[in-house]
Amino acid sequence: MEVTRLNNRAIDLIGAVADAIVENKEFLTSLDAAIGDADHGINMARGVEAVRAKVTAAPGADIGALLKTTGMTLISTVGGASGPLYGTAFMRAAGAAQGKTELDGETVKQMLAAAIQGIKDRGKAARGEKTMLDALEPAFDAFVESLEAQKPLVDCLEAATEAARQGVAFTKTIIATKGRASYLGERSLGHQDPGATSSTILLATITDFCRKAQ
Protein backbone atom coordinates (compact mmCIF):
# COMPACT_ATOMS: atom_id res chain seq x y z
CA MET A 1 0.00 0.00 0.00
CA GLU A 2 1.40 3.38 -0.91
CA VAL A 3 1.57 6.22 1.49
CA THR A 4 -0.93 8.27 -0.44
CA ARG A 5 -3.39 5.44 -0.48
CA LEU A 6 -2.74 4.80 3.18
CA ASN A 7 -3.39 8.44 3.93
CA ASN A 8 -6.66 8.44 2.11
CA ARG A 9 -7.78 5.22 3.73
CA ALA A 10 -6.48 6.25 7.13
CA ILE A 11 -8.30 9.56 6.90
CA ASP A 12 -11.44 7.71 5.94
CA LEU A 13 -11.01 5.40 8.93
CA ILE A 14 -10.50 8.31 11.24
CA GLY A 15 -13.57 9.91 9.73
CA ALA A 16 -15.56 6.75 10.41
CA VAL A 17 -14.34 6.62 14.01
CA ALA A 18 -15.17 10.29 14.49
CA ASP A 19 -18.64 9.77 13.03
CA ALA A 20 -19.27 6.81 15.33
CA ILE A 21 -18.23 8.71 18.45
CA VAL A 22 -20.21 11.81 17.50
CA GLU A 23 -23.22 9.60 16.82
CA ASN A 24 -22.85 8.14 20.30
CA LYS A 25 -22.06 11.42 22.01
CA GLU A 26 -25.32 11.64 23.89
CA PHE A 27 -25.34 7.95 24.69
CA LEU A 28 -21.84 8.03 26.16
CA THR A 29 -22.66 11.20 28.08
CA SER A 30 -25.79 9.66 29.54
CA LEU A 31 -23.79 6.61 30.66
CA ASP A 32 -21.36 8.99 32.35
CA ALA A 33 -24.23 10.94 33.94
CA ALA A 34 -25.30 7.79 35.74
CA ILE A 35 -21.98 7.03 37.42
CA GLY A 36 -19.72 9.95 36.56
CA ASP A 37 -19.98 13.57 35.57
CA ALA A 38 -21.88 13.53 32.30
CA ASP A 39 -19.07 14.54 29.99
CA HIS A 40 -17.56 11.43 28.44
CA GLY A 41 -19.37 11.69 25.12
CA ILE A 42 -18.75 15.43 24.96
CA ASN A 43 -15.06 14.93 25.71
CA MET A 44 -14.62 12.17 23.13
CA ALA A 45 -16.56 14.01 20.44
CA ARG A 46 -14.46 17.12 20.94
CA GLY A 47 -11.35 14.98 20.66
CA VAL A 48 -12.24 13.03 17.53
CA GLU A 49 -13.41 16.17 15.73
CA ALA A 50 -10.06 17.76 16.49
CA VAL A 51 -8.25 14.65 15.27
CA ARG A 52 -10.30 14.60 12.09
CA ALA A 53 -9.40 18.22 11.37
CA LYS A 54 -5.75 17.68 12.20
CA VAL A 55 -5.12 14.55 10.14
CA THR A 56 -7.09 15.87 7.20
CA ALA A 57 -4.82 18.90 7.13
CA ALA A 58 -1.56 16.98 7.71
CA PRO A 59 -1.88 13.20 7.76
CA GLY A 60 1.80 12.43 8.27
CA ALA A 61 4.06 10.12 6.33
CA ASP A 62 3.20 6.76 7.86
CA ILE A 63 0.83 5.04 10.24
CA GLY A 64 3.09 5.78 13.17
CA ALA A 65 3.11 9.49 12.42
CA LEU A 66 -0.63 9.50 11.93
CA LEU A 67 -1.25 7.77 15.25
CA LYS A 68 1.16 10.11 16.99
CA THR A 69 -0.80 13.09 15.71
CA THR A 70 -3.97 11.37 16.85
CA GLY A 71 -2.60 10.71 20.32
CA MET A 72 -1.20 14.19 20.77
CA THR A 73 -4.41 15.76 19.54
CA LEU A 74 -6.47 13.65 21.93
CA ILE A 75 -4.19 14.63 24.81
CA SER A 76 -4.55 18.31 24.01
CA THR A 77 -8.29 18.36 23.35
CA VAL A 78 -10.12 15.69 25.34
CA GLY A 79 -9.12 16.41 28.93
CA GLY A 80 -10.63 14.54 31.86
CA ALA A 81 -9.49 10.98 32.50
CA SER A 82 -10.14 9.70 29.00
CA GLY A 83 -7.91 12.30 27.32
CA PRO A 84 -4.59 11.25 28.84
CA LEU A 85 -5.61 7.58 28.68
CA TYR A 86 -6.66 7.42 25.05
CA GLY A 87 -3.95 9.91 24.14
CA THR A 88 -1.28 7.76 25.75
CA ALA A 89 -2.74 4.65 24.15
CA PHE A 90 -2.48 6.13 20.65
CA MET A 91 1.01 7.52 21.31
CA ARG A 92 2.18 4.06 22.39
CA ALA A 93 0.45 2.40 19.45
CA ALA A 94 2.20 4.95 17.25
CA GLY A 95 5.51 3.72 18.63
CA ALA A 96 4.67 0.16 17.63
CA ALA A 97 3.64 1.29 14.14
CA GLN A 98 6.55 3.63 13.51
CA GLY A 99 7.54 3.74 9.84
CA LYS A 100 4.80 1.36 8.81
CA THR A 101 2.59 2.08 5.84
CA GLU A 102 0.82 -1.21 5.99
CA LEU A 103 -0.36 -3.32 8.91
CA ASP A 104 -0.32 -7.02 9.55
CA GLY A 105 -1.75 -9.02 12.42
CA GLU A 106 1.48 -9.10 14.38
CA THR A 107 1.91 -5.34 14.18
CA VAL A 108 -1.67 -4.76 15.24
CA LYS A 109 -1.11 -7.09 18.18
CA GLN A 110 1.94 -5.11 19.24
CA MET A 111 0.06 -1.86 18.81
CA LEU A 112 -2.80 -3.10 20.97
CA ALA A 113 -0.43 -4.40 23.60
CA ALA A 114 1.45 -1.11 23.69
CA ALA A 115 -1.77 0.89 23.86
CA ILE A 116 -3.11 -1.14 26.76
CA GLN A 117 0.18 -0.94 28.60
CA GLY A 118 0.08 2.84 28.11
CA ILE A 119 -3.37 3.01 29.66
CA LYS A 120 -2.19 0.96 32.61
CA ASP A 121 0.96 3.01 33.11
CA ARG A 122 -0.99 6.23 32.99
CA GLY A 123 -4.10 5.23 34.94
CA LYS A 124 -2.68 2.60 37.29
CA ALA A 125 -5.80 0.49 36.93
CA ALA A 126 -6.13 -3.25 36.34
CA ARG A 127 -8.80 -5.36 34.72
CA GLY A 128 -11.89 -5.71 36.89
CA GLU A 129 -12.01 -2.13 38.13
CA LYS A 130 -14.80 -1.05 35.79
CA THR A 131 -12.79 0.95 33.29
CA MET A 132 -11.99 0.85 29.60
CA LEU A 133 -9.53 -1.92 30.44
CA ASP A 134 -12.46 -4.26 30.98
CA ALA A 135 -13.22 -3.92 27.29
CA LEU A 136 -9.68 -3.62 25.98
CA GLU A 137 -7.95 -6.47 27.79
CA PRO A 138 -10.48 -9.16 26.85
CA ALA A 139 -10.41 -7.72 23.34
CA PHE A 140 -6.67 -8.10 23.23
CA ASP A 141 -6.85 -11.68 24.50
CA ALA A 142 -9.43 -12.59 21.89
CA PHE A 143 -7.38 -10.90 19.19
CA VAL A 144 -4.28 -12.88 20.13
CA GLU A 145 -6.22 -16.14 20.29
CA SER A 146 -7.59 -15.62 16.80
CA LEU A 147 -4.23 -14.51 15.51
CA GLU A 148 -2.58 -17.61 16.93
CA ALA A 149 -5.30 -19.66 15.25
CA GLN A 150 -4.07 -18.05 12.00
CA LYS A 151 -7.33 -16.23 11.37
CA PRO A 152 -7.31 -13.28 8.94
CA LEU A 153 -6.84 -9.81 10.48
CA VAL A 154 -10.47 -8.85 10.05
CA ASP A 155 -11.63 -11.97 11.87
CA CYS A 156 -9.19 -11.23 14.67
CA LEU A 157 -10.61 -7.71 14.96
CA GLU A 158 -14.11 -9.15 14.91
CA ALA A 159 -13.28 -11.48 17.78
CA ALA A 160 -11.70 -8.59 19.68
CA THR A 161 -14.79 -6.45 19.25
CA GLU A 162 -17.07 -9.22 20.41
CA ALA A 163 -14.95 -9.74 23.51
CA ALA A 164 -15.00 -5.99 24.17
CA ARG A 165 -18.79 -6.07 23.98
CA GLN A 166 -18.88 -8.81 26.56
CA GLY A 167 -16.46 -6.78 28.65
CA VAL A 168 -18.86 -3.85 28.58
CA ALA A 169 -21.66 -6.14 29.73
CA PHE A 170 -19.39 -7.39 32.48
CA THR A 171 -18.77 -3.85 33.73
CA LYS A 172 -22.45 -3.72 34.66
CA THR A 173 -21.89 -6.48 37.18
CA ILE A 174 -18.96 -5.00 39.07
CA ILE A 175 -18.30 -2.12 41.41
CA ALA A 176 -15.98 0.61 40.17
CA THR A 177 -12.74 0.99 42.06
CA LYS A 178 -11.02 3.42 39.71
CA GLY A 179 -12.09 6.70 38.21
CA ARG A 180 -14.97 8.89 39.21
CA ALA A 181 -17.44 6.02 39.46
CA SER A 182 -15.48 4.52 42.34
CA TYR A 183 -17.01 7.11 44.70
CA LEU A 184 -20.37 5.50 44.12
CA GLY A 185 -19.56 2.15 45.67
CA GLU A 186 -22.53 -0.18 45.33
CA ARG A 187 -24.46 2.47 43.44
CA SER A 188 -22.23 1.87 40.41
CA LEU A 189 -23.64 -1.65 40.04
CA GLY A 190 -25.96 -2.19 37.10
CA HIS A 191 -24.38 0.58 35.04
CA GLN A 192 -22.00 -0.04 32.18
CA ASP A 193 -18.74 1.87 32.10
CA PRO A 194 -18.66 4.81 29.64
CA GLY A 195 -14.97 4.37 28.80
CA ALA A 196 -15.35 0.64 28.18
CA THR A 197 -18.25 1.53 25.91
CA SER A 198 -16.32 4.12 23.92
CA SER A 199 -13.41 1.66 23.56
CA THR A 200 -15.80 -0.87 22.14
CA ILE A 201 -17.24 1.67 19.74
CA LEU A 202 -13.70 2.43 18.55
CA LEU A 203 -12.93 -1.25 18.01
CA ALA A 204 -16.25 -1.97 16.33
CA THR A 205 -15.83 0.96 13.95
CA ILE A 206 -12.30 -0.07 13.00
CA THR A 207 -13.42 -3.66 12.46
CA ASP A 208 -16.35 -2.58 10.37
CA PHE A 209 -14.16 -0.30 8.31
CA CYS A 210 -11.60 -3.05 7.66
CA ARG A 211 -14.23 -5.56 6.69
CA LYS A 212 -15.79 -3.17 4.19
CA ALA A 213 -12.38 -2.16 2.84
CA GLN A 214 -11.48 -5.79 2.05
Binding site: T29, A33, A34, I35, G36, D37, A38, D39, I42, N43, R46, I75, S76, T77, V78, G79, G80, A81, S82, G83, P84, L85, R122, G123, I175, T177, K178, G179, R180, S182, Y183, L184, G185, R187
Partner: protein, 332 residues
Protein backbone atom coordinates in the same frame (compact mmCIF):
# COMPACT_ATOMS: atom_id res chain seq x y z
CA UNK B 1 -31.81 23.76 29.79
CA UNK B 2 -32.26 27.42 30.61
CA UNK B 3 -29.01 29.32 30.74
CA UNK B 4 -27.68 32.77 29.99
CA UNK B 5 -25.19 31.67 27.36
CA UNK B 6 -24.62 32.09 23.66
CA UNK B 7 -23.71 28.55 22.84
CA UNK B 8 -22.52 25.58 24.79
CA UNK B 9 -19.27 25.22 22.85
CA UNK B 10 -18.15 28.80 23.46
CA UNK B 11 -19.12 29.19 27.06
CA UNK B 12 -15.66 28.68 28.61
CA UNK B 13 -13.98 30.95 26.08
CA UNK B 14 -16.56 33.70 26.57
CA UNK B 15 -16.44 33.36 30.33
CA UNK B 16 -12.67 33.78 30.30
CA UNK B 17 -13.01 36.87 28.15
CA UNK B 18 -15.62 38.19 30.56
CA UNK B 19 -13.35 37.59 33.55
CA UNK B 20 -10.41 39.39 32.01
CA UNK B 21 -12.61 42.28 30.87
CA UNK B 22 -14.06 42.56 34.37
CA UNK B 23 -10.80 42.38 36.29
CA UNK B 24 -7.92 43.73 34.21
CA UNK B 25 -6.32 45.04 37.38
CA UNK B 26 -6.00 41.45 38.60
CA UNK B 27 -5.68 39.11 35.64
CA UNK B 28 -4.67 38.75 32.02
CA UNK B 29 -5.17 36.00 29.50
CA UNK B 30 -2.42 33.78 28.15
CA UNK B 31 -3.37 34.34 24.54
CA UNK B 32 -4.50 31.26 22.71
CA UNK B 33 -4.97 29.24 25.89
CA UNK B 34 -7.70 28.80 28.47
CA UNK B 35 -5.38 30.19 31.07
CA UNK B 36 -5.52 33.34 33.12
CA UNK B 37 -2.63 34.60 35.16
CA UNK B 38 -1.94 37.58 37.35
CA UNK B 39 -1.76 40.87 35.47
CA UNK B 40 1.87 41.19 36.57
CA UNK B 41 2.88 37.55 36.06
CA UNK B 42 5.49 36.24 36.47
CA UNK B 43 6.06 37.76 39.90
CA UNK B 44 9.77 38.00 40.51
CA UNK B 45 11.29 36.18 43.46
CA UNK B 46 8.17 34.25 44.33
CA UNK B 47 7.10 30.64 44.00
CA UNK B 48 4.07 30.59 41.73
CA UNK B 49 0.84 28.67 42.31
CA UNK B 50 -1.20 27.18 39.49
CA UNK B 51 -4.53 25.50 39.95
CA UNK B 52 -7.40 24.62 37.69
CA UNK B 53 -9.77 21.93 36.72
CA UNK B 54 -12.95 21.67 34.80
CA UNK B 55 -14.93 24.88 34.45
CA UNK B 56 -18.26 25.31 36.20
CA UNK B 57 -16.85 25.79 39.70
CA UNK B 58 -16.51 29.58 39.50
CA UNK B 59 -15.14 31.57 41.23
CA UNK B 60 -12.79 28.58 41.42
CA UNK B 61 -10.20 28.86 40.20
CA UNK B 62 -9.79 31.98 38.07
CA UNK B 63 -11.42 34.15 40.74
CA UNK B 64 -8.58 33.37 43.11
CA UNK B 65 -5.80 34.58 40.86
CA UNK B 66 -4.16 37.55 42.51
CA UNK B 67 -1.87 38.66 45.29
CA UNK B 68 -1.79 36.21 48.19
CA UNK B 69 -3.42 33.33 46.32
CA UNK B 70 -2.90 31.86 42.86
CA UNK B 71 -0.63 33.04 40.05
CA UNK B 72 -2.47 31.17 37.34
CA UNK B 73 -5.63 29.18 36.72
CA UNK B 74 -6.38 26.75 33.93
CA UNK B 75 -9.96 26.32 32.77
CA UNK B 76 -10.94 22.98 31.31
CA UNK B 77 -14.18 22.31 29.50
CA UNK B 78 -17.13 22.25 31.88
CA UNK B 79 -16.41 19.60 34.55
CA UNK B 80 -13.52 18.24 32.50
CA UNK B 81 -9.93 18.45 33.61
CA UNK B 82 -7.86 20.76 31.42
CA UNK B 83 -5.35 19.19 29.08
CA UNK B 84 -1.60 19.02 29.82
CA UNK B 85 -0.61 21.61 27.21
CA UNK B 86 -2.93 24.16 28.82
CA UNK B 87 -1.51 23.52 32.26
CA UNK B 88 1.98 23.68 30.87
CA UNK B 89 1.30 27.11 29.35
CA UNK B 90 0.12 28.34 32.72
CA UNK B 91 3.25 27.03 34.39
CA UNK B 92 5.48 28.74 31.82
CA UNK B 93 3.59 32.02 32.12
CA UNK B 94 3.91 32.27 35.90
CA UNK B 95 7.30 30.77 36.68
CA UNK B 96 9.77 33.38 37.87
CA UNK B 97 12.53 30.81 38.27
CA UNK B 98 11.59 29.94 41.86
CA UNK B 99 9.37 27.08 40.79
CA UNK B 100 5.66 26.36 40.52
CA UNK B 101 3.29 24.52 42.84
CA UNK B 102 0.40 22.75 41.12
CA UNK B 103 -2.73 22.58 43.28
CA UNK B 104 -4.68 19.59 42.02
CA UNK B 105 -8.04 18.28 43.13
CA UNK B 106 -7.98 14.51 43.53
CA UNK B 107 -9.66 13.21 40.38
CA UNK B 108 -8.05 10.69 38.06
CA UNK B 109 -8.34 13.06 35.13
CA UNK B 110 -6.92 16.06 36.92
CA UNK B 111 -4.03 14.08 38.33
CA UNK B 112 -3.06 12.61 34.99
CA UNK B 113 -3.33 15.84 33.04
CA UNK B 114 -1.45 17.90 35.61
CA UNK B 115 1.20 15.18 35.93
CA UNK B 116 1.77 15.20 32.19
CA UNK B 117 2.08 18.98 32.31
CA UNK B 118 4.58 18.69 35.15
CA UNK B 119 6.64 16.29 33.04
CA UNK B 120 6.58 18.77 30.16
CA UNK B 121 7.68 21.60 32.46
CA UNK B 122 10.42 19.58 34.08
CA UNK B 123 11.72 18.74 30.64
CA UNK B 124 12.13 22.50 30.21
CA UNK B 125 13.91 22.77 33.57
CA UNK B 126 11.05 24.42 35.38
CA UNK B 127 10.88 23.27 39.00
CA UNK B 128 7.43 21.88 39.72
CA UNK B 129 5.85 20.50 42.87
CA UNK B 130 2.36 19.11 43.31
CA UNK B 131 -0.22 19.01 46.05
CA UNK B 132 -3.33 16.88 45.73
CA UNK B 133 -6.38 18.02 47.66
CA UNK B 134 -8.69 15.28 48.93
CA UNK B 135 -10.95 16.86 51.53
CA UNK B 136 -14.30 15.18 50.81
CA UNK B 137 -15.16 12.82 53.66
CA UNK B 138 -18.34 11.59 51.97
CA UNK B 139 -16.56 8.55 50.64
CA UNK B 140 -14.42 6.38 52.86
CA UNK B 141 -10.78 6.60 51.94
CA UNK B 142 -10.03 3.00 51.16
CA UNK B 143 -8.42 0.75 48.63
CA UNK B 144 -11.83 0.56 47.03
CA UNK B 145 -11.75 4.09 45.75
CA UNK B 146 -9.21 6.32 44.11
CA UNK B 147 -9.05 8.20 47.37
CA UNK B 148 -11.12 11.13 48.49
CA UNK B 149 -12.26 13.80 46.10
CA UNK B 150 -11.01 17.35 46.28
CA UNK B 151 -13.80 19.86 46.79
CA UNK B 152 -14.23 23.23 48.55
CA UNK B 153 -11.30 22.73 50.90
CA UNK B 154 -9.11 23.48 47.89
CA UNK B 155 -9.81 27.17 48.46
CA UNK B 156 -7.99 26.99 51.80
CA UNK B 157 -4.98 25.49 50.02
CA UNK B 158 -5.00 28.39 47.56
CA UNK B 159 -5.28 30.90 50.38
CA UNK B 160 -2.67 29.50 52.72
CA UNK B 161 -0.06 28.22 50.28
CA UNK B 162 -0.57 31.47 48.35
CA UNK B 163 0.16 33.52 51.44
CA UNK B 164 3.23 31.40 52.15
CA UNK B 165 4.54 31.96 48.62
CA UNK B 166 4.06 35.67 49.10
CA UNK B 167 6.61 35.57 51.98
CA UNK B 168 9.33 34.52 49.55
CA UNK B 169 9.39 30.92 50.81
CA UNK B 170 10.98 28.20 48.70
CA UNK B 171 9.02 25.73 46.59
CA UNK B 172 9.63 23.02 49.21
CA UNK B 173 8.34 25.27 51.97
CA UNK B 174 5.25 26.26 50.01
CA UNK B 175 4.54 22.65 49.19
CA UNK B 176 5.01 21.68 52.83
CA UNK B 177 2.44 24.13 54.05
CA UNK B 178 0.05 23.13 51.26
CA UNK B 179 0.41 19.50 52.34
CA UNK B 180 -0.27 20.58 55.91
CA UNK B 181 -3.52 22.20 54.81
CA UNK B 182 -4.52 19.04 52.96
CA UNK B 183 -3.78 16.96 56.05
CA UNK B 184 -6.05 19.17 58.14
CA UNK B 185 -8.95 20.08 55.89
CA UNK B 186 -12.21 18.13 55.63
CA UNK B 187 -15.43 18.82 53.73
CA UNK B 188 -18.77 17.32 52.89
CA UNK B 189 -21.68 18.47 50.78
CA UNK B 190 -25.32 17.91 49.89
CA UNK B 191 -27.46 18.88 46.93
CA UNK B 192 -31.09 19.93 46.62
CA UNK B 193 -31.09 20.02 42.86
CA UNK B 194 -28.83 18.90 40.03
CA UNK B 195 -26.94 20.96 37.50
CA UNK B 196 -26.79 20.84 33.74
CA UNK B 197 -23.54 20.66 31.78
CA UNK B 198 -24.21 23.12 28.92
CA UNK B 199 -23.01 20.73 26.23
CA UNK B 200 -25.06 17.89 27.72
CA UNK B 201 -28.21 19.97 27.73
CA UNK B 202 -29.97 18.12 30.49
CA UNK B 203 -29.49 17.59 34.22
CA UNK B 204 -27.00 14.92 35.34
CA UNK B 205 -29.58 13.50 37.73
CA UNK B 206 -33.04 14.24 38.97
CA UNK B 207 -34.34 14.48 42.50
CA UNK B 208 -37.88 14.28 43.76
CA UNK B 209 -39.37 17.40 45.35
CA UNK B 210 -38.69 16.07 48.86
CA UNK B 211 -35.40 14.36 48.14
CA UNK B 212 -31.79 15.44 48.57
CA UNK B 213 -28.51 13.91 47.50
CA UNK B 214 -25.96 13.51 50.28
CA UNK B 215 -22.21 13.47 49.73
CA UNK B 216 -22.30 14.20 46.03
CA UNK B 217 -19.26 15.62 44.23
CA UNK B 218 -19.00 19.00 42.57
CA UNK B 219 -19.44 17.70 39.02
CA UNK B 220 -22.99 16.50 39.25
CA UNK B 221 -21.74 13.05 40.23
CA UNK B 222 -24.19 11.12 42.36
CA UNK B 223 -23.39 11.06 46.07
CA UNK B 224 -23.41 8.39 48.71
CA UNK B 225 -27.18 8.22 48.99
CA UNK B 226 -30.49 10.02 48.78
CA UNK B 227 -32.78 10.83 51.64
CA UNK B 228 -35.84 12.87 52.45
CA UNK B 229 -35.04 16.54 52.88
CA UNK B 230 -34.48 17.44 56.51
CA UNK B 231 -34.24 20.76 58.29
CA UNK B 232 -31.20 22.97 57.78
CA UNK B 233 -30.06 22.09 61.30
CA UNK B 234 -30.40 18.35 60.77
CA UNK B 235 -28.55 18.46 57.48
CA UNK B 236 -25.78 20.71 58.76
CA UNK B 237 -25.35 18.56 61.87
CA UNK B 238 -25.19 15.41 59.77
CA UNK B 239 -22.47 16.71 57.46
CA UNK B 240 -20.57 18.18 60.39
CA UNK B 241 -20.73 14.88 62.26
CA UNK B 242 -19.08 13.08 59.39
CA UNK B 243 -16.39 15.75 59.19
CA UNK B 244 -15.77 15.79 62.92
CA UNK B 245 -15.68 11.99 63.17
CA UNK B 246 -12.90 11.99 60.63
CA UNK B 247 -11.04 15.04 61.85
CA UNK B 248 -11.42 14.36 65.57
CA UNK B 249 -10.62 17.86 66.81
CA UNK B 250 -10.28 18.39 70.56
CA UNK B 251 -11.87 21.07 72.70
CA UNK B 252 -9.71 24.15 72.45
CA UNK B 253 -8.64 23.44 68.90
CA UNK B 254 -9.01 26.29 66.48
CA UNK B 255 -10.60 25.91 63.06
CA UNK B 256 -11.56 27.90 60.00
CA UNK B 257 -15.06 27.32 58.64
CA UNK B 258 -16.28 27.53 55.07
CA UNK B 259 -19.98 27.22 54.39
CA UNK B 260 -19.86 26.97 50.64
CA UNK B 261 -22.79 27.44 48.29
CA UNK B 262 -22.93 25.20 45.23
CA UNK B 263 -24.38 27.86 42.98
CA UNK B 264 -28.12 28.28 43.37
CA UNK B 265 -28.52 28.34 47.12
CA UNK B 266 -29.20 31.81 48.51
CA UNK B 267 -26.83 33.33 51.04
CA UNK B 268 -29.82 33.45 53.40
CA UNK B 269 -29.79 29.66 53.60
CA UNK B 270 -26.02 29.44 53.89
CA UNK B 271 -26.16 31.74 56.91
CA UNK B 272 -28.88 29.59 58.47
CA UNK B 273 -26.50 26.65 58.05
CA UNK B 274 -23.62 28.63 59.51
CA UNK B 275 -25.66 29.34 62.61
CA UNK B 276 -25.91 25.62 63.27
CA UNK B 277 -22.25 25.00 62.45
CA UNK B 278 -21.17 27.64 64.95
CA UNK B 279 -23.55 26.20 67.54
CA UNK B 280 -22.23 22.65 67.16
CA UNK B 281 -18.59 23.72 67.23
CA UNK B 282 -19.23 26.02 70.17
CA UNK B 283 -20.83 23.13 72.03
CA UNK B 284 -17.63 21.14 71.59
CA UNK B 285 -15.38 23.95 72.74
CA UNK B 286 -13.85 24.34 69.29
CA UNK B 287 -12.75 27.89 68.50
CA UNK B 288 -13.61 29.47 65.16
CA UNK B 289 -10.78 31.67 63.95
CA UNK B 290 -12.49 32.76 60.75
CA UNK B 291 -15.67 31.92 58.85
CA UNK B 292 -16.30 32.17 55.13
CA UNK B 293 -19.88 31.97 53.84
CA UNK B 294 -20.64 32.14 50.14
CA UNK B 295 -20.09 30.60 46.73
CA UNK B 296 -16.43 29.60 46.60
CA UNK B 297 -16.47 26.22 44.85
CA UNK B 298 -19.66 25.84 42.88
CA UNK B 299 -21.20 23.26 40.67
CA UNK B 300 -22.89 25.39 38.01
CA UNK B 301 -26.49 26.04 39.09
CA UNK B 302 -26.69 23.20 41.58
CA UNK B 303 -28.59 24.04 44.77
CA UNK B 304 -26.97 22.82 47.94
CA UNK B 305 -23.95 23.50 50.06
CA UNK B 306 -20.86 22.00 51.59
CA UNK B 307 -19.22 22.52 54.93
CA UNK B 308 -15.44 22.66 55.24
CA UNK B 309 -13.40 22.70 58.43
CA UNK B 310 -9.70 23.39 58.54
CA UNK B 311 -7.84 22.67 61.76
CA UNK B 312 -5.38 25.47 62.37
CA UNK B 313 -2.03 25.75 64.02
CA UNK B 314 -0.21 29.04 64.50
CA UNK B 315 1.35 28.96 61.04
CA UNK B 316 -1.85 28.05 59.19
CA UNK B 317 -3.81 30.67 61.10
CA UNK B 318 -1.38 33.45 60.36
CA UNK B 319 -1.31 32.57 56.67
CA UNK B 320 -5.10 32.23 56.53
CA UNK B 321 -5.52 35.70 57.97
CA UNK B 322 -2.82 37.26 55.77
CA UNK B 323 -3.95 39.74 53.11
CA UNK B 324 -5.27 38.58 49.77
CA UNK B 325 -6.34 40.58 46.75
CA UNK B 326 -8.11 38.59 44.06
CA UNK B 327 -11.39 39.02 42.18
CA UNK B 328 -13.25 36.64 44.49
CA UNK B 329 -11.45 36.98 47.81
CA UNK B 330 -10.11 40.19 49.20
CA UNK B 331 -8.84 40.46 52.69
CA UNK B 332 -6.95 43.25 54.38
Amino acid sequence: MKKVINNAEQVVEEMLQGIVLAHPQYVKRVEGFDVIVRANAPVAGKVALVSGGGSGHEPSHGGFVGRGMLDGAVAGAVFTSPTPDQVYEAVKAVDSGKGVLLVIKNYTGDIMNFEMAAEMAEAENIKVAKVVVNDDVAVENSTWTTGRRGIAGTVFVHKIAGAKAETGASLEEVKAVADKVVANVRSMGMALSPCTVPAAGKPSFTLAEDEVEIGMGIHGEPGTHREAIGSADQTAAHLLDKILADMAPAAGDEVAVLVNGLGATPLMELYVVNRKVAEVLGGKGIQIAKTFVGNYMTSLEMAGFSITLLKLDAELKELLLAPADTPALVQF
